[in-house]
């Protein structure tokens, strides 16, 4: 009987596994160390958790294999074939820099060096007409040279190919004929969208990653099959859904940010279960914090992202903002006497001062220990923190410089860290027209629950949700996904001239392709959901705004009114007298994977006593504070702040001005008192 669902999230340090029994709704967690070949860590975890793979109905996986391959440049030798005169598009890029002022901080090198960028005579004009057919002799010459060089993947990117891919396809056929086993990505198929650098860059990433992820998913799939797994391995992609290994070959770039989406999905889902369709995810780890936002049950997505600055990947991605604030972030005083926090971090080693590995600069963790918010025994006693060293670091690093008591200094450190996180949340919410008061904050990651209540208060967010296993929430995210593919195509026309039937036909064609792909992945027709949107703008504007589109499309006027309203919400003004243009049509094709319900716990009425008490500092005052063991807290249990709740992978702080309750899923829900 196949009644297990397994989700694996492989991170830099740990491989987290979430195992759900569909029959009981119970979730188990397994954590193992990540290994050089991530598959070893995964199989170790499977064995250690005692999973019989024959009983697994669904195995989903978020992986950093593609991300790491890009960052480390451990990529197969990949060639780019482009239009004569356009050898350097991916090196010229948009020519901008990420750090505008530091002349020694460079944009990293392109994924394909200049030597492996070849060109052929051919040209399509801006109307999509072939004004110069592909020079077949030159194309065969390129194929011959690339074969001699032994390249392992090829990207074909021609100018204006988003309008007409004939020349690209002809080039691909010649390459495939010469090298039948080498994957070839062509830009008119990977991303048929205007703007050469963005399209070329996405296609290049796709080509270079294809051998990497095909090899990886095949090896993992084979290992799982050997041990009895009979279904498709499901791979989490950057857009927040999963796809099967069959699709990975053609759309490898979609896995480039596989690891970043899981936390956002989990926080959206958990908040939804708790009755909050609007959620901000605050995933605070050792070195950084990821912030994400879901509105009305949908994660915010962006097409404006990259793994490394300068090399865009224009597939829909769940929007995650990362800032350098984590438990290990260093507090320091700069030359002009300002108290700073991060982005430098003590890292995993030597880590915070209280780890006793030689770092003497205070970190957020040291400040939390000094204030008593964090205990000195973590991870079930396997990690001991030295409160004396923490105190010493806070004293010498901050207290002396500002003439503060040690507790005041520790609190100052935490307040600056909280303010930095609040600023990041503001950028992703208020500055996009969302009011934080309409949201719940989902605080997770190793350190999220230590800071969540204070960050929420700073932003007037009324509710904080701390999931049951904050340290492995991302793995839970992998468990809660649907099959999903994102399609987009340009549709550049004035709204006044747009024909609803033509747009309807364009959507219908894309939907047929989506249906085909999902069907091939084994999704039943009744489980398929299409979500349409159209990117629109005022004529003359340069950025577009996505507006949800109905099916079928009957009226352009209704779309235009929706656009005015959305523009007003996001930017605080609308121009009813200005013509509106359509730019792009988008389709999100979802194959709904039935979700097992999380186990619901009935209130027991029990009131377990605190496991202990210690002095915890809040707002300059010491408080005798109860310390609870989360493992024994039943549903319905109410906590009056101040209180601290400890568990293996995290610590939750309930400040004196707050109260908390354990809900039926065993999440801790924190609100302000009164």
């Amino acid at each position: 009987m196949q009644n297990l669902r397994v989700a694996v999230d492989v991170g830099g340090t740990f491989t987290d596994m979430c195992i759900m029994d569909e029959a009981t709704g119970l979730i188990r967690i397994e954590k193992t160390s990540s290994t050089a070949d991530p598959i070893e860590g995964i199989m170790t975890g499977v064995a250690r958790a005692g999973i019989d793979l024959a009983e697994v109905a669904l195995f989903s996986h978020g992986t950093t294999v593609a991300t790491n391959a890009l960052i480390t440049r451990r990529l197969p030798r990949t060639a780019l074939v482009s239009t004569k005169g356009f050898r350097d598009v991916i090196e010229i890029r948009r020519a901008n820099k990420e750090d505008l002022w530091d002349a020694y901080k460079d944009v990293v090198r392109p994924y394909i060096p200049r030597r492996d960028r070849l060109t052929v005579p051919e040209r399509v004009d801006a109307a999509g007409t072939i004004i110069e057919p592909l020079d077949l002799d030159a194309a065969r010459e390129v194929a011959r040279i690339l074969k001699r060089r032994g390249v392992e993947a090829i990207a074909v990117c021609f100018m204006n190919a988003y309008l007409n891919g004939d020349n690209e396809r002809a080039m691909r056929d010649i390459l495939v004929e010469a090298m039948p086993n080498i994957p070839v990505s062509i830009s008119s198929q990977v991303l048929p969208e205007i703007f050469e650098h963005e399209r070329f860059s996405t296609t290049v990433v796709n080509a270079a990653l294809s051998p990497v992820v095909v090899d990886y998913t095949k090896r993992l799939g084979d290992r799982l099959a050997e041990d009895g797994y009979t279904r498709d391995l499901l791979l989490l992609h950057t857009g927040g859904g999963v796809m099967t290994p069959g699709s990975v070959k053609d759309f490898a770039a979609r896995l480039a940010g596989s690891g970043i989406a899981a936390g956002a999905i989990a926080s959206r889902h958990i908040a939804g279960l708790c009755g909050f369709p609007n959620a901000i995810g605050l995933d605070m780890g050792g070195t950084s914090t990821d912030v994400s936002l879901a509105y009305e049950g949908q994660s915010r997505v962006t097409k404006d992202w990259y793994i490394e600055f300068g090399y865009p990947i224009r597939f829909s991605s769940i929007e995650v903002m990362t800032i350098g604030a984590g438990g290990g972030s260093l507090a320091w005083t700069d030359e002009a006497g300002s108290l700073r926090n991060g982005p430098q971090s003590a890292g995993a080693y030597p880590g915070p001062a209280c780890y006793g590995n030689g770092n003497e600069q205070p970190t957020n963790t040291d400040a939390n220990v000094t204030l008593g918010r964090l205990g000195t025994s973590l991870a079930g006693g396997s990690v001991r923190l030295d409160a004396g060293l923490a105190r010493k670091a806070v004293e010498s690093g901050v207290a002396k410089a500002f003439d503060l008591t040690v507790e005041e200094a520790a609190e100052a450190i935490i307040k600056v860290a909280n303010a930095n996180m609040s600023d990041a949340v503001r950028l992703i919410s208020i500055s996009r027209g969302y009011d934080p008061r309409d949201f719940a904050l989902v605080a997770f990651g190793g350190a999220g629950a230590l800071h969540g209540a204070a960050v929420a208060r700073e932003l007037a967010i009324p509710v904080v949700i701390v999931p049951t296993n904050p340290g492995v929430t991302s793995a839970l995210g992998c468990l809660l996904v649907d099959m999903q593919h994102d399609f987009s195509e340009n549709c550049m026309i004035e709204a006044a001239a747009a024909d609803p039937e033509a747009i309807e036909a364009q959507f219908a064609r894309i939907e047929a392709e989506a249906l085909d792909r999902l069907t091939h992945e084994g999704v039943r027709a009744e489980d398929i959901v299409f979500q349409r949107s159209i990117d629109m703008m005022y004529r003359g504007q340069w950025r577009s705004l996505a507006v949800t589109a109905p099916s079928p499309i009957r009226s352009i006027d209704a779309l235009v009114e929706d656009f005015h309203r959305e523009h007003d919400r996001e930017y605080n003004f609308r121009r009813d007298d200005t013509p509106v243009s359509l730019f792009r049509v988008n389709l999100k094709a979802i194959g709904v994977v039935p979700k097992a319900d999380l186990l619901v716990h009935e209130p027991t009425g029990e009131s377990p006593p605190p496991a202990g008490r210690r002095t915890v500092w809040f707002d300059g005052e010491p408080h005798e504070t109860p310390i609870y063991d989360r493992a024994v807290l039943p549903a319905g249990f109410a906590i009056e702040g101040p209180a601290v709740v400890e568990q293996v992978d995290s610590t939750t702080v309930v400040p004196p001005w707050a109260k908390a309750e354990v809900d039926k899923y065993l999440n801790i829900i924190i609100r302000a008192k009164g």
Partner: protein, 652 residues
């Protein structure tokens, strides 16, 4: 010390919140603007205190606006003193009041708390057109402002958050694209409102007095940080000179901009005495942009320090009135970015000696092409305006090659435009946009590579082309023994013609027709350090990637490379030949750099040597099409070449 009036947490929180408020303005402008120039990141945003001093400028702002926002804010304050109201927004674009050029239009909003102005928000963006005699408002033949565009001295553009349609209409209808101009007014005004909302949130949380204290404390903080670093430098004087190619209204000879930098204690003084008077083109700088060139150049050596008036208080500028760095009304200044970049690169050079760990050689010069006319590709013709700017190479650095293909030092956030977008909007086909082999200025650490863009006119009518560039003569230079790159300049090939016509780096209103082809290279960056000391393996890698040719690997670096199999990228260094060639160059090169310029010009005309040889070996400046010697320009070029390159070889 004002920071002491605030507790450390409040201070740090406010400091970051002010910057966040300003960055939110920038983000909103980017998302809602109409001007494609703004969209490509030519904009800036500022938060000012009640005195108009700058408390925070955006992290992503373009360099060329740095240090000018407080001038325009204060000019607005002077005009509307005692007559400011909540919901007012004012516009100004006046370069004679500290602005940059007419295209950069600033909207300023006073922020009120309890009936009192406590701050100002300012949004500055480059509009696509502000009138004047040519599309895009860059007429290089202008000598006075009246041909350049509309001068907006402070006007009230919004009252009670409502646009004054009369004033807005007057401004917009003096431009070539009124609908977009009105759109940008609204986009910028709403952006200042975003900042107002954030500041009022902070007032609500911390109280008005705390915010006012914070606005001045963040300036004191930056001033303290900069002064401490300056105080750590040795006292002394440093001097340099850089050049504009020529005065179109004057004789042959480059136009010097001289700077003497004095460090005394915790203060820096930049003295421009000896700089040339204003010239007969638009390449003049009013005081505001001279100030900006100094601030932006210096900021490159203090990349982590936030930008605000505290930074600007740490230096002082002496600029002779009426000189090219202090042009007064009504002298034309729209091409101010040409002197601006000379100032920035001069500051790089002087600070490179003070901070060798951040040293960098000269970067390529910004170039700007303007074309306009009728697009006749479709049956119903329409007006088009094609403005384009290209990236190029940045200077070699201490221990690192320069950046390839990067936006000009005028603002590294500025984006290059996509060719596919340009081809949709304009009857122009791009046939080439690629790196130029051998463009990097040779050095132990070479400059970055420049590129070339070639465009062919499609069906069109009544099209004229103008070009704004420089360093066709004042060629991008190396430091510490590094060599120059190559000259800028546009070449036109008429349809059916067999002769190239070199139009150079500055011209306007040249008529072009369907089938005409124009080509614009951008220079690479200058080299850093003696090229004969470059690791031959690095030269080999550059040859494999075609950044450097086999021929110039030998001539510039003395590295002899044999081709084994180019198809497989296989090359090898001939070690013995390299050692011998390097010895030969070392023994001869000082004499090469001092050989009679007329003799060099003659060899160039005969085809025996090319422009790379003329510049890099002989430091001679020619009229590049005719090969005629430019004696005064050569004299000036050699003077600085002796100091930056020849003099450094002798040391080693």
């Amino acid at each position: 010390m004002a920071a002491e009036q605030l507790d450390p947490v409040t201070f740090e929180v406010l400091k970051n919140s002010f910057i966040t408020a300003v960055d939110q303005m920038g983000e909103q402008v980017l998302r809602t603007c109409y001007s494609f120039v703004i969209y490509n990141h030519d904009f800036s945003s500022g938060l000012h205190d009640a005195k108009g001093e700058c408390a925070a400028q955006g992290n992503q702002d373009i360099a060329v606006h740095v240090g000018t926002l407080h001038f325009t804010c204060q000019d607005v304050m002077r005009h509307f003193e005692g007559d400011m109201h909540e919901g007012d927004v004012y516009a100004i674009n006046d370069p004679y009041a500290g602005g940059t050029h007419f295209s950069d239009v600033r909207l300023v909003r006073p922020i009120f708390a309890d009936g009192k102005v406590i701050a100002y928000a300012q949004s500055n963006g480059h509009w696509s057109d502000v009138g004047g005699s040519v599309p895009g408002s860059f007429d290089v033949s202008a000598r006075e402002m009246f041909r350049e565009g509309l001068r907006i001295t402070p006007v009230r553009l919004f009252s009670k958050n409502e646009l004054h349609r009369d004033v807005a209409g007057l401004i917009a209808h003096n431009t070539r694209d009124p609908a977009s101009i009105i759109g940008d007014m609204q986009a910028q005004a709403q952006a200042t409102r975003v900042c107002e909302r954030e500041i009022l949130r902070l007032v609500g949380k911390y109280g008005r007095d705390t915010i006012e204290t914070g606005l001045s404390a963040v300036q004191d903080y930056v001033e303290r940080a900069v002064r401490q670093r300056i105080a750590a430098m040795p006292d002394g004087e440093w001097e340099t000179v850089d050049f504009i190619d020529r005065d179109p209204a004057g004789g042959e000879g480059m136009i010097p901009i001289r700077i003497k930098m004095t460090i005394k204690g915790d203060k820096v003084i930049y003295d421009f005495t000896g700089s040339h008077p204003v010239i007969g083109s638009i390449y003049n700088s009013a005081f505001g942009t001279t100030f900006s060139g100094v601030a932006a150049g210096m900021k490159t050596f203090f990349p982590d320090v936030p930008l605000n008036s505290g930074f600007y208080r740490a230096f002082e500028i002496i600029a002779p009135e009426g000189s090219i760095v202090d042009a007064r009304w009504p002298v034309a200044v729209t091409g101010f970015l040409m002197p601006f970049e000379k100032i920035m690169n001069s500051i790089y050079e002087m600070w490179s000696r003070l901070m060798p760990e951040r040293a960098l050689a000269c970067a390529f010069n910004l170039e700007y092409l303007l074309t306009g006319g009728w697009d006749a590709r479709a049956a119903d013709k329409s007006i088009f305006m094609f403005y384009d700017w290209l990236p190029g190479g940045w200077g070699g650095r201490n221990g690192k090659d320069g950046n390839n293909c990067t936006t000009a030092s005028f603002g590294t956030g500025m984006n290059a435009q996509p060719v596919e977008g340009q081809e949709r909007a304009n009857p122009i086909l791009c046939t080439e946009m690629e790196i130029v082999t051998d463009s990097p200025g040779p050095g132990k650490w070479r400059g970055g590579a420049g590129l070339v863009k070639t465009s062919r006119m499609l069906e069109s009518e009544d099209v004229v082309i103008s070009y704004i560039c420089d360093r066709e003569r004042a060629v991008v230079w190396g430091i510490e023994g590094g060599l120059p790159s190559m000259p800028h300049g546009l070449t036109l090939t008429r349809a059916g013609g067999d002769r190239d016509e070199r139009l150079g780096a500055i011209f306007s209103d040249v008529t072009i027709r369907e089938g005409d082809v124009f080509t614009r290279p951008t220079a690479g960056g200058g080299g850093f350090g003696d090229p004969l000391e470059r690791d031959p393996k690095r030269v080999l890698e550059d040859v494999v990637d075609d950044y450097v040719s086999v021929d110039r690997a030998a001539k510039d670096y003395g590295v002899v490379i044999r081709t084994i199999d180019a198809e497989l990228c296989e090359y090898e260094i001939d070690e013995a030949a390299t050692a011998a060639l390097r010895e030969e160059i070392r023994a001869s090169r000082v004499a090469w750099a001092r050989v009679d310029p007329e003799e060099v010009a003659a060899r160039y005309r005969s085809g025996e040597i090319d422009a790379f040889d003329v510049i890099r070996r002989h430091a001679v400046i020619l009229e590049w099409d005719s090969g005629a010697l430019l004696p005064e320009s050569t004299r000036q070029f050699r003077e600085v070449f002796e100091r930056r390159s020849v003099g450094e070889w002798a040391k080693a």
